[in-house]
């Protein structure tokens, strides 16, 4: 549905997006993570045909991005929720949606139906005649999402849709994205929120000008650290450390009476370690297996890139 190949955008000497190659399939929710200035918004703007590319290629559906003739066709296929909601504050909620419906060349009946459907779905129907300027941030964000959907787009680009929202509003927006996911909409989600990405996205890309990693949230977690076994002992003795070293365990770290070991397959490796510890006279209080989080993966990649 969305494909890029070495997509690059430069502003003078500054490279905002560098050789971005990725693929988002139909019905997938793709999370685009990255620090401020990583090029996420620039990428979305290029894919929405708002700004041009310096080099490389990109396709939305069957249409090549960068071709003027295709730009209008692509814009009909997509909906955009920008980082600033950008609502007409002196127009009512209904008028905001209706205006966009007209811009997308929807008929009067289509507009009436979709406006009512989305305003009811997002709990704004009772406020349809209130000026958008009187809305809370959460309500504005919901209205901006509805606006991006009035023409039933195949692809929805969302740039930080939950930024600056209170937890309750963020939850409402997230639940709505999950609802769209059920409807098999393709969603390209720029976000800083790792927890949000992990919960919503089928696939995640980590960008810091260059695409540093791409995969499912689980793949990214595993690709960074794998898993760890943490063993809490009543007392740590040298003989226990020696016996574990003989097992050639990876990255053995001791801290007080706690041992941490990197493991690939804990179901197979942990029993051997337990046996070795007990044989060396150790007494185990607890043993736990931990996974690295998406946050660990993200921070490590961004840090490596900064170096």
């Amino acid at each position: 549905m969305i494909e890029t190949e070495n997509l690059t955008r430069k502003f003078g000497d500054l490279t905002a997006v560098d050789n971005l190659t990725l693929r988002v399939d139909k019905g997938q929710v793709f999370g685009f993570l990255g620090p401020n200035g990583a090029g996420k918004t620039t990428t979305v703007r290029m894919l929405c045909c708002l700004i041009g590319k310096t080099s490389g290629s990109a396709k939305i559906g069957e249409y090549e991005v960068g071709n003027q003739e295709n730009a209008l066709k692509i814009r009909k296929m997509i909906g955009l929720v920008p980082d600033n909601v950008g609502l007409y504050e002196s127009l009512t909620a209904f008028e905001n949606l209706d205006y966009y419906g007209k811009l997308y060349r929807r008929t009067d009946t289509q507009r009436k139906e979709s406006n009512e459907y989305f305003l009811k779905l997002l709990g704004l129907w009772e406020k349809r005649d209130a000026l958008a300027g009187s809305f809370s941030k959460g309500m504005k964000q919901k209205l901006a999402i509805a606006r991006a959907l009035v023409h039933d787009p195949e692809i929805l680009f969302m740039d930080e849709p939950t930024a600056n929202l209170d937890p309750e509003s963020s939850k409402t927006v997230r639940e709505f994205i999950l609802e769209l996911k059920k409807q098999k909409k393709t969603i390209f989600l720029n976000t800083h929120n790792l927890d949000e990405a992990q919960r919503i996205c089928d696939k995640i890309g980590i960008l810091n000008t260059r695409l540093m990693a791409v995969g499912t949230p689980e793949e990214l977690e595993r690709s960074i650290h794998g898993r760890k076994t943490v063993i809490q002992l009543t007392q740590l003795k040298d003989s226990i450390l020696d016996s574990l070293k003989r097992l050639q365990v990876k990255n053995l770290v001791s801290e007080g009476n706690k041992l941490t070991v990197d493991v690939v397959n804990p179901e197979e490796e942990n029993p051997d370690m337990v046996n070795a510890i007990v044989a060396a006279g150790g007494r185990i209080e607890t043993i736990t297996v931990t996974s690295s989080s998406l946050e660990d993966a993200y921070l490590k990649l961004v840090k490596e890139n900064a170096q």
């Binding site: 708002l50 814009r75 920008p82 127009l91 205006y99 997308y104």
Partner: protein
Amino acid sequence: MTAWMPWKIARKELKVIGRKRSIIFYTVGLPLLVAVSFLLVLKGQLANGIPDTISLGAESIIYIFVVLATVLPSTIAAYSIVGEKVEKTLEPLLATPTTDGEILLGKGIAAFIPPVLSAWAGASIFMGLADYLLLNAGLGYYYFPNWNAGVMLLLLAPLAAILSIEVAVIASSRVTDVRGANQIAGLMFIPFVVVFFAGAEGIFAFSIDNLLIFSGVVVIADVILFFLSKATFNREEILTKWK
């Protein structure tokens, strides 16, 4: 470009502008104020029985409505474009399947119609009531109707309004607030004011020939600024270079 899309955009702009009391007051009030002021001057002079010594000639008074046609659109055009920039509404608008030309034309129509109609209305009120006062004074159709006023109102005023809108579009890309854009675009009224004073001082006659030549100059300026404003108002420029 479809014919009705700019009109859809213009209707939205007019709806938004219609809810800004200050813009309505300014757009409707100023021509009305000019009309009423000069009618009071005329009435006062008629009371003294010397209508031909009115301090400004009839053409000069009508020309003031041309000057208003250069001043009034810039406020609406600046609000329509810089207002969108300030309220961050441009990006979602640009993401719709509308062309840059359709958006620009829509905004231009919205900035053109109310000021030009308002200038025409002010001038019509002045001309109608001036005729009424002069007829009652037994002087017949002393000032109006005349072809000079027709050329000024029907040709020069719309051309001047277009010029003002184009300058406002260009100014909008360089400033971050409506007032700034309005101030820059407002400079457009200087050449028109110079012509006004030249007329008042007798250096420039508001004859049909002179008005047509002046209109021709404005047409040339309109065409040049059309290409400049069109180059300024494109998605790439707006999102990457506009302040």
